[in-house]
C-alpha cells in the first residue's frame, strides 16, 4: 500500500502547469456544489413549498442566525463566506468517504489556502467596517507593546486553522487506510462513521472560527 501524507500525485500537465489529484477532486466537488446550489435556489425561488427549497431555507437561515449570534448583527457577506466554507469543507470530507477518492481537505495545500483566505478576509472586513486607521489602531490596544503578540496570534491561529483541518482529515483517512490494509474489508466501517462525524464537525468549527475572527475584526473599533 501507499501511505500518502504530504505528497500529491501530479496527474497531468496543462502546458507547464501541473495538475494534481487534489485540484481535480476539489474542482469536481465545487462544480457539484454549485450545481446543487443553483438547483436549490431555483426551487426556492419558484416552488417555495418543495421540501428541497425548505432545506435551502434552513441552510441559509441557520448560517444567518449563526453569524448574527456571533457578530451581534446581520452580516450577509460574512454569512455567505462562512456558509461557503462549511459547504465546501463538508462536501470535500464527505467525498473523501468514497472509495478511491482522496479528500481535497486532506492536503495541506488546500487547508492552508482556505486559512489564508480567512486570514486575508480579517483585515478586509476590519477595514471595511472601521476604516484603515480604525482597524490598525486595534493592534496597539491596550498597549503598543502588545502589537507583536497580536501579529503572532493572527499568524498562529491561521496556521492552527490550516493544520487542524488537515490533521483531522488526513489522520482519519490514514487510519481507515491502515485498517483496510491490516484487517481487511468492512472492519473500518465504525472508524469511517466517526470520520464522517469528525469531518462535519471540523467543517463547522472552521466556519465558526472564521466567523469569530472576522467578527472580532469587525467589532474591533467598537470598544
Amino acid at each position: 500500500m501507499h501511505l500518502r501524507i504530504f505528497g500529491d500525485p501530479v496527474l497531468f500537465h496543462i502546458g507547464t502547469v501541473p495538475v494534481t489529484e487534489t485540484m481535480v477532486t476539489s474542482t469536481v466537488v465545487t462544480l457539484l456544489l454549485i450545481a446543487t446550489a443553483v438547483l436549490l435556489a431555483y426551487l426556492a425561488t419558484l416552488r417555495p413549498q418543495h421540501w428541497l427549497s425548505l432545506v435551502a431555507f434552513m441552510i441559509v437561515e441557520s448560517f444567518d442566525n449563526l453569524v448574527t449570534e456571533i457578530i451581534g448583527r446581520r452580516h450577509t457577506i460574512v454569512s455567505t463566506l462562512a456558509g461557503s466554507l462549511f459547504l465546501f469543507i463538508a462536501s470535500c470530507n464527505i467525498a473523501g468517504q468514497l472509495p478511491g477518492v482522496h479528500p481535497a481537505t486532506g492536503s495541506l495545500a488546500t487547508t492552508s489556502a482556505l486559512a489564508v483566505v480567512v486570514f486575508l478576509s480579517v483585515p478586509i472586513a476590519g477595514i471595511r467596517s472601521n476604516g484603515v486607521w480604525g482597524y490598525i489602531k486595534h493592534y496597539f490596544r491596550p498597549n503598543p507593546l502588545l502589537m507583536p503578540l497580536h501579529v503572532i496570534s493572527e499568524l498562529s491561529r491561521t496556521l492552527a486553522l490550516a493544520v487542524r483541518l488537515f490533521g483531522n482529515i488526513m489522520s482519519g483517512h490514514l487510519v481507515v487506510g491502515l485498517l483496510v490494509a491490516l484487517a481487511g474489508f468492512l472492519v473500518p466501517t465504525p472508524i469511517m462513521a466517526l470520520d464522517l462525524l469528525i469531518g462535519l464537525l471540523q467543517a463547522y468549527i472552521f466556519a465558526i472560527l472564521s466567523t469569530v475572527y472576522i467578527g472580532a475584526a469587525i467589532s474591533a473599533g467598537e470598544e
Binding site: A160, V163, Q202, I205, L209
Partner: protein, 88 residues
Amino acid sequence: MNDQTIIAVVAMAGAGLTMGLGAIGAAIGESRIGAAAMDALARQPDEASSITRTLFVSLAMVESTAIFCLVVALILLFANPFTGAAGG
C-alpha cells in the same frame, strides 16, 4: 549501526513520545471542558445551543494540539528530512 539507523530509531522514539505526551494534555483539557460544559448546561438549560457551540469549538481547539502532535509524529515517521526515505 550507521547514522541512518540511529536517525530512524530516534525518530520512531520521538514520534511515540510526541504522540503520548501530546495526548495527555489534550485529554485532560477536553475532560475539563466537558465537565464545565455539563455544569453550565445544568445551570442554564436555556443557553443550551450557545453552550454546545462553544463546547465544540473549544474541544476542537484543544484537540488541535493533539492533532499538531500527530502531524509532528507523522512528519518524524514518514517525512523526516534527515532520512533518505522522505515520503512523498
